[in-house]
């Protein structure tokens, strides 16, 4: 899609190569070919910068996982043979399968059923510059559980992982994954989300740091009435590659999904990629879904690719839609604010903050909200916008 189009994406402009339903998945890394870069799911990713995560790089270090859990929330470190693992989904690309084949131990965080828990924070620190690590995390919200889990990614190195979110019947889980990596970090991650009957998941991805960050959140429903909201907020600076590939697989009736990803880009070589797939299978009658991606390009030299794909196999749905728009800074907004005496720099900040406000307002943890507001301010300071 054009990097600088302010036109809304037109329907039918993008025809998926194959149905998302035929997308290959496997736990076994050897079941996947080493990607060469021309494959549909890899064509936007700079493979040369992946530190071999896609081509069989062995682990040379490990990522430290530290969990700050409130009362009632249990944390376990388990071996790779624990039979609770791998239940939320199957790796959908070679790097996810490599991570699944390579991790040595996994962290399982369980929110107690029928209770409201305080937020838990899982801090993952990369293996260090030049090192490669694989990991696995599972977050489980038991039946009627209610709580928030913050994933905080920091540090250096190359790190691939699978994160599972099992949301049991009637549970309400809020997830905030913050990618605040050091400048050198490479992170390829698949999030597997499985929602039980009447389960609610609000999943927010924040991507700020890192050299290459590629996150693939996949939602599946195990029963009726599931409700998934996927939000994303990213800020790509010069040279950064940030790729988000949400996929909602509607295979159960009467479920709902809403995807909103917004990003700002600035600086030479800043690249954001958003591939939003929604599949409504024959059985998924009564589905209601919407997906939206918006990119705000602040300077020359930045590029955003945005591809929404919506496949509908049944006509018996509540509603389905998608929208994508990538635009430059709106000069009319700037003029209006400046015409009221607000200096240009301050006016730009107001507009960018306003752009993200809708998503930031939805983050219910005040410390995280403040951290993001500060991070956005810092990004804007950096470029002098």
């Amino acid at each position: 899609m054009a990097a600088l189009s302010t036109q809304p994406h037109s329907h039918g402009a993008v025809v998926p190569v194959a149905s998302r339903a035929e997308h290959f998945t496997s736990y076994d890394v050897d079941a996947f070919e080493v990607p060469g870069g021309r494959e549909e799911i890899w064509r936007f990713t700079p493979l040369k910068r992946l530190a071999g995560l896609h081509s069989g790089a062995a682990a040379t270090g490990s990522a430290a996982v530290e969990v700050n859990a409130p009362e009632g929330v249990t944390v376990e470190t388990v071996g790779r043979d624990d039979d609770r693992l791998g239940k939320a989904g199957v790796p959908g690309d070679r790097v996810a399968a490599q991570a699944y084949s390579s991790f040595s131990d996994a962290t399982i965080v369980t929110l107690p059923g029928d209770a409201k828990s305080e937020p838990a924070t899982v801090t993952v620190t990369g293996p260090g510059a030049g090192a490669v690590a694989y990991g696995h995390i599972q977050v489980k919200a038991s039946q009627f559980a209610e709580g928030t889990v913050i994933l905080d990614f920091r540090g250096s190195g190359a790190y691939a992982e699978n994160v599972e979110f099992l949301v049991a019947d009637g549970a309400h889980l809020t997830v905030i994954a913050i990618h605040d990596w050091a400048d050198d970090a490479v992170h390829v991650s698949q999030h597997h989300m499985k929602l039980g009957r009447d389960a609610t998941l609000r999943h927010t991805v924040v991507t700020l740091g890192g050299d290459v960050v590629r996150v693939t959140p996949v939602v599946q429903y195990a029963g009726r009435g599931g409700d998934a909201e996927l939000f994303g907020l990213y800020f790509a600076d010069a040279g950064q590659h940030q790729e988000h590939r949400p996929f909602i697989d509607h295979a159960q009736p009467n479920c709902r999904s809403n995807v909103v990803y917004k990003g700002a880009l600035q600086g030479d070589g800043a690249h954001a990629v958003w591939i939003g797939d929604v599949l409504i299978r024959v059985a998924a009658e009564g589905t209601e879904t919407f997906e939206l991606n918006r990119n705000l390009i602040l300077t020359d030299g930045a590029r955003a690719d945005s591809v929404p794909n919506l496949e509908i196999e049944t006509g018996e749905i509540e509603g389905a839609g998608h929208a994508s728009a990538t635009g430059r800074f709106d000069d009319e907004q700037l003029f209006y604010l400046q015409a009221r005496g607000i200096p240009e720099e301050q006016a730009r900040r107001l507009v960018v903050r306003g752009f993200f406000q809708e998503l930031i307002a939805k983050i219910a943890v005040p410390e995280v909200r403040e951290r993001l507001e500060a991070a956005i301010e810092a990004e804007l300071e950096a470029v002098g916008a």
């Binding site: 209006y336 009221r340 005496g341 607000i342 306003g354």
Partner: protein
């Protein structure tokens, strides 16, 4: 005593091919205490005049001067012009998603006044100003102009006029699209602003109806990118009965009848 002085102003707009001259030598002086109605047919360049004075980047000044109390306005950035005491109530106010009206108003007032207004006084001031314009207090928490009706946008332009108290206000077709009640409320807002200080008003309009509420001291007919005739209130009455035919050669009414 504020004075806005426009001398031989020529303005072009950059269109797809060549720049197109829209203003062809505008001369106008507005002093504090005066209200000047600028009346003219569509396409005569009235709005261009207002945007050029405010500093919209789309317009290029090719010659002429604009000064406010002797200071060169054209040398100033858009925000400097506003802080110097110019205000443009826009015909099509811009939506700014995610920025609340209250945050916007306070940021603007802080910029124009040079210091943040005392919070308690400010809240009271805004509430009062909103009530005067029949604006629901809930608008304070909505994004700037987002989803506002045409009339709601115009009320908010006048709300800003009242709070920012500029030396010279340019009202660009503030009356367009307003129903009778809204026109009255908005006009009363302009009259309160005039009564509050020694200020000058440039009232740009296509129709005479707003002049029933806001008394002009001078009426100028604008056609073909310049002022072609000036007079007092009586000129508006002539326009009301005869339209702009004398100036344009085509029949275009100055009333809504």
């Amino acid at each position: 005593m504020a004075t806005l002085e426009i001398k031989d102003l020529h303005v072009s707009v950059v269109s797809e091919d060549a720049p197109k001259e829209i203003l062809k030598g505008v001369d106008l002086t507005i002093k504090a205490g005066e209200t000047h109605a600028i009346m003219g047919p569509n396409g005569s360049g009235k709005s261009t005049l207002s945007y050029a004075i405010a500093g919209h980047p789309k317009y290029t000044i090719t010659s002429g001067t604009v000064t406010l109390d002797g200071e060169d306005v054209l040398e100033m950035s858009v925000d400097e012009r506003a802080r110097a005491g110019l205000f443009l109530a826009m015909q099509y106010p811009v939506e700014v998603p995610g920025v609340s009206m209250s945050n916007f108003l306070r940021t603007a007032a802080t910029a124009v006044r040079g210091e943040a207004p005392n919070l308690r006084h400010w809240v009271k001031e805004v509430k009062g100003a909103m009530a005067d314009l029949d604006i629901d207090p809930a608008f304070a928490e909505r994004s700037v102009n987002e989803g506002f009706s045409g009339g709601e946008k115009k009320r908010h332009e006048i709300l800003q006029l009242g709070l920012l108290q500029p030396k010279i206000a340019i009202l660009d077709e503030t009356d367009s699209g307003l129903d009778v009640d809204a026109l009255r409320v908005v006009s009363e807002g302009v009259n309160r602003y005039k009564a509050n200080g020694e200020v000058g008003v440039m009232l740009i309009t296509h129709y005479t109806r707003i002049l029933k509420y806001i008394q002009p001291d001078f009426v100028h007919v604008f056609a073909g990118g310049r002022i072609v005739e000036s007079g007092g209130r009586e000129l508006a009455d002539v326009l009301e009965s005869e339209g702009y035919v004398k100036y344009t050669g085509s029949k275009e009414a100055a009333t809504l009848s």
